[in-house]
Assembly symmetry: C2
Homo-oligomer: 200 residues x 2
């Protein structure tokens, strides 16, 4: 493969290598795999991408991804429980929905506060969250942020902003994951699980 | 994200998860990344895929991927050196070309002989290789197969088939990679490098 034949394929490899989790080597493997399965996988994948690229948009209320200005969760009356679960990212919202135990609505921040990356409240959907709390009759805000330093800084900031609104602010319990082996957990998790220990 | 909004996105995630090196979790991350960059990355990527899917084909002579029936390497007179480098896969051909020191032509087998997977010579491009050796005035066949059991079985099989044709059959030198730390190499490599040791 040289000259003009290469150009298109190398361009494709370059784009694939920009996806998170893929480097140049795995992008090359992926593109070769696609070329081998061009009718069965590559063409349908290209079409699915175009379809999603053309229709996907962020929900104006919560930041979830859907195909309309207001996502299915925000427009469902069944989910107007007065509970808002705050997550960093749409991937976290998907993870919560796979759990299928939360029946309220979400608010996707789009990241965490970070002094290092100069990300303040205005760069996230924090002002919008405060608006929603006032406007939607919210009774509980569940902070489901990652147990990282930035995640917890963000959680504390939001909790502070909600002080005096009368809204109950909670966060996910920390502890040993189901099936988790202590040996594989970091010390912080074990310490937190010990502090939050319950009568057996 | 639920109901109809989900379907397209989940279908896309499912397709992405079929790429080598991506699992369901990394496919979800990749799709979210694409949706965030839908104008700058997702649309161009979909178009590049369609372009390559529509034009890419295997060279009828060597199995390389290009955009015509005979690839640029096979049709270049400059590369008619009488040397054919036999590789397992197009990815290996690309790796050799990045090295930019081989000036002959290639022959892509499309795999290795494997009793376990019932892959015999007819499933690979071995008969075609023997045809080319007779037809193209080949003087040397360089076996650049992987240093795996199947790769070496295949190399020995091809060498056997070429016995008596007067063609010189060689293989890549085995040894310590440049910059390689002994500590990270498997024992076989060290043994082979020791056996092939040269005066310093
Ligand atoms: Zn929404
Ligand atoms: Zn060719």
């Amino acid at each position: 493969m040289t000259d003009n034949a290469t150009r298109d394929i190398e361009e494709l490899i370059g784009m694939m290598a920009r996806l998170p989790g893929l480097g140049p080597r795995s992008a090359r493997r992926a593109v070769l795999h696609l070329i081998k399965k061009r009718a069965l996988l590559m063409m349908p994948l290209a079409e699915a991408m175009q379809q999603v690229a053309a229709t996907a948009r962020e929900c104006l209320a919560c930041g979830n991804i859907g195909t309309s200005d207001i996502c299915d969760i925000c427009s469902s009356e069944k989910r107007a429980t007065g509970e808002i679960c705050v997550v960093e990212d749409v991937a976290d919202l998907w993870a919560m929905e796979r759990g299928a135990s939360f029946r309220g609505r979400y608010h996707v921040l789009g990241g965490t506060l970070s002094a290092l990356d100069a990300i303040g409240p205005e760069e996230l959907r924090i002002p919008k969250l405060l608006d929603r709390v006032r406007a939607e009759g919210v009774t509980e805000v569940i902070l489901a942020l990652n147990a990282t330093v930035d995640g917890q800084t963000t959680a504390h900031y939001i909790a502070e902003q909600l002080e005096g609104t009368g809204v109950s602010v909670t966060s996910l319990a920390q502890g040993v994951p189901i099936g988790g082996e202590l040996d594989y957990l970091d010390d912080g998790t074990i310490t937190a699980a010990l502090k939050a220990r319950k009568r057996f």
